[in-house]
């Protein structure tokens, strides 16, 4: 805020107004100033702020020169954005000239413009445009572009043309490169720290495994939660912690409530991939990782929820109704096979309206109970009623 000066709102030579907005408040960095409810005028050279009507009457107002603005961005909307006004952040350069302004010193290198009533014009676009064109700079004779630029053309046309665009693209690219290399440096530092912690956690977990020392229950639980939040997969702590966790228990209840009717409709079984998709589609924000869903499903049985996790021999995992069990599935499927004399997984899936993988699993379960036989050929896998057992010979 120390770059803002008191000034007279008379336009300079070659300066013209671009847009006007009302009910604007100025922020010094993140702090509100007393300059609120004012009129904001963006010209080709500066940004002017004045009390309502002050600028029209030519009275003193505040001005910020464009050459001090480095970068413009909109403040990203937060969760409270429906009650907050739109804000534009102007990042500023260092200022040597400490003359006449409302604030001598400032901790911040940026100011914010808060538009209480929102803004009607495209403020960010206009600001960026003006910054790029550098409309406040005086005419300079050695610009190489457009030989037909004559001296009576208004200042705003300068620094445009292909060279100007190229130059600004180059600058943008340089800025991105710089920011990325800074990012990489920060990343390496961060990773070094993380590596250290992984090593330390390894030592502690060995201690736990060998039960050396009196590491208390409480500390063990805390330690396991650290590992989980860092994403370290430690075999010592993997299973036991996850079943105790409050987070997974509440997740389990949520998922079960949400899906129980769907699972019933689908014949009592739903593959976990399907569960993952449906739950995340419903959430749309703060999605769950596959591990989260798996762990939540694991605890369902112990919580007496209507759904439980079941794993087939082939490794396929499903959520099924608690009331469903292997034998009843086998019976039901065997009856279907009998009716049609032979069934393949595709046919069963079409008939029952379930996915191919699940249909296959049902047939395999039925086979396990001896109620049907398989016929494996190049045409695919088909199942026939088990005549060895049923036909009396």
């Amino acid at each position: 805020m120390n770059r803002v000066k008191y000034t007279n709102p008379i336009l300079l030579d070659g300066e013209s107004t671009v847009i006007v907005e009302n009910n604007v408040r100025l922020y010094d960095g993140d702090q509100k100033t007393s300059f609120e409810g004012g009129e904001l005028i963006i010209t080709t050279h500066r940004i002017l702020w004045g009390r309502p009507g002050a600028i029209a009457r030519g009275q003193t107002c505040l001005a910020l020169n464009f050459d001090l603005i480095v970068f413009v961005e909109e403040e990203p909307a937060s969760t409270f954005s429906f009650s907050r006004s739109r804000k534009v952040i102007l990042h500023l350069a260092e200022c040597q000239d400490q003359s006449d302004g409302p604030q001598y010193n400032s901790y911040y290198n940026f100011i914010k413009l808060s538009f209480r009533d929102g803004y009607t014009n495209n403020v960010i676009g206009v600001l960026n445009d003006l910054l790029q064109k550098k409309t406040w700079e005086p005419l300079s004779p050695e610009t190489p572009e457009a030989p037909e630029v004559k001296s009576q053309l208004p200042t705003i046309k300068l620094r445009t043309g292909i060279v100007g665009i190229e130059r600004s693209l180059q600058e943008k690219q340089k800025a991105t490169d710089e920011s990325i290399s800074v990012a990489f440096q920060d990343l390496s530092k961060l990773m070094a720290m993380a590596k250290d912690m992984v090593r330390l956690s390894g030592t502690i977990s060995t201690k736990i495994k060998e039960k050396q020392g009196d590491i208390t229950e409480d500390e063990t639980v805390r330690f396991k939660s650290y590992l989980m939040s860092l994403g370290i997969d430690d075999p010592v702590t993997r299973d036991s912690y996850k079943s105790d966790n409050q987070y997974y228990k509440s997740l389990a209840k949520q998922i079960s409530e949400f899906l129980v009717s769907h699972v019933e409709e689908m014949g009592g079984m739903m593959a976990l991939t399907d569960v993952f998709c449906r739950v995340n589609r419903a959430r749309s924000l703060e999605l769950l990782s596959p591990e989260d869903i798996l762990n939540a499903c694991r605890v369902m049985e112990s919580l007496d929820l209507p759904l439980k996790l079941f794993q087939f021999n082939s490794g396929v995992m499903v959520l099924q109704l608690r009331t469903l069990d292997d034998e009843s599935i086998a019976e039901a499927t065997a009856i279907l096979v009998d009716d049609r004399n032979s069934l393949s997984a595709e046919e069963l899936s079409q008939q029952l309206g379930i996915s191919l993988t699940l249909a296959k699993e049902r047939l395999l379960t039925t086979e396990k109970y001896g109620k049907c036989c398989r016929d494996d050929s190049i045409e695919g896998l088909r199942f026939y009623p088990n005549l060895f057992l049923t036909k009396e010979e």
Partner: protein, 250 residues
């Protein structure tokens, strides 16, 4: 101090051991304290990093890849939980949503290619499906591979199969694809999506039985179609590799 024998010495030894044990606990507790402190510092640094570079990670696939590789090298999985420390970077949502979309695309194309889709085709379809908005920033092959790998834990058969020369196929139905099968796919790719037993003998020097067994398995799985029009021998076509399939809009 001279070592003494007798009851006194034994008791003294016991006492010493106790003291050592206590000291050991103390040091260990210090270790635990140390870890807690380190974790706090790390959390703060991570949050700072996130504020500065969150956008970078979201917009720049190269950066994302680097980040993932570094995490993997120290043994940390930033995607393992939506609630972990790393969630402040906001990459979880990106990858999980990508995973959901991958499942959808695979299911939609399953009837054509039997559950095996090329990574390039997957990527093209995803980009089309995700829309033009700026939020749906560019996704790299690395992003897809990582998201697809995450789905493996469900046991429904999601798998990424490398085909050599930087090419990958994404499998979405359970079924083993042995080295032989991958080799056949590679050959088919060079030869307009089909092979025959004699072709395999020429290119790979395989015996007839070996080729036949592998090819029949793939037909069985629905990955290959048999063409009987050739007068000399059967030809085996792979829909996953058909350019017409790949370029189709549905």
């Amino acid at each position: 101090m001279r070592r003494r024998a007798g009851l006194g010495a034994i008791q003294k030894q016991k006492l010493e051991q106790e003291k050592y044990k206590d000291k050991g606990n103390e040091i260990q507790e210090n270790q635990f304290e140390q870890m807690t402190k380190q974790l706090e510092v790390f959390k703060i640094n991570l949050e700072e990093f996130a504020t500065k570079h969150k956008n970078e990670i979201r917009k720049n696939p190269e950066f994302r890849k680097q980040f993932q590789e570094m995490c993997a090298s120290i043994g940390v999985d930033p995607l393992s939980s939506g609630k972990g420390f790393w969630s402040v970077l906001g990459i979880g949502d990106f990858y999980y949503e990508l995973a959901v979309q991958i499942v959808e695309v695979c299911l939609a194309t399953n009837y054509k290619n039997g559950g095996l889709i090329g990574l390039d085709e997957l990527r093209t379809r995803l980009i089309k499906a995700r829309g033009q908005s700026k939020q749906h920033q560019e996704i790299s092959k690395d992003d897809l591979i990582r998201a697809a790998q995450k789905l493996k834990i469900f046991g429904s058969g999601f798998n990424v199969v490398p085909m050599g020369k930087g090419k990958y196929m994404v499998q979405s139905v359970p079924g083993e694809l042995s080295m032989d099968h991958s080799a056949i796919l590679q050959q088919a790719e060079k030869n307009q999506a089909f092979v025959s037993v004699s072709y395999l003998r020429r290119e790979l020097s395989w015996e007839m039985e070996r080729s036949q067994k592998a090819l029949e398995h793939m037909v069985n799985q629905g990955l290959a179609w048999v063409d009987l029009q050739n007068p000399q021998e059967k030809l085996y076509y792979f829909p996953s590799l058909f350019t017409a399939c790949v370029n189709a809009s549905s």
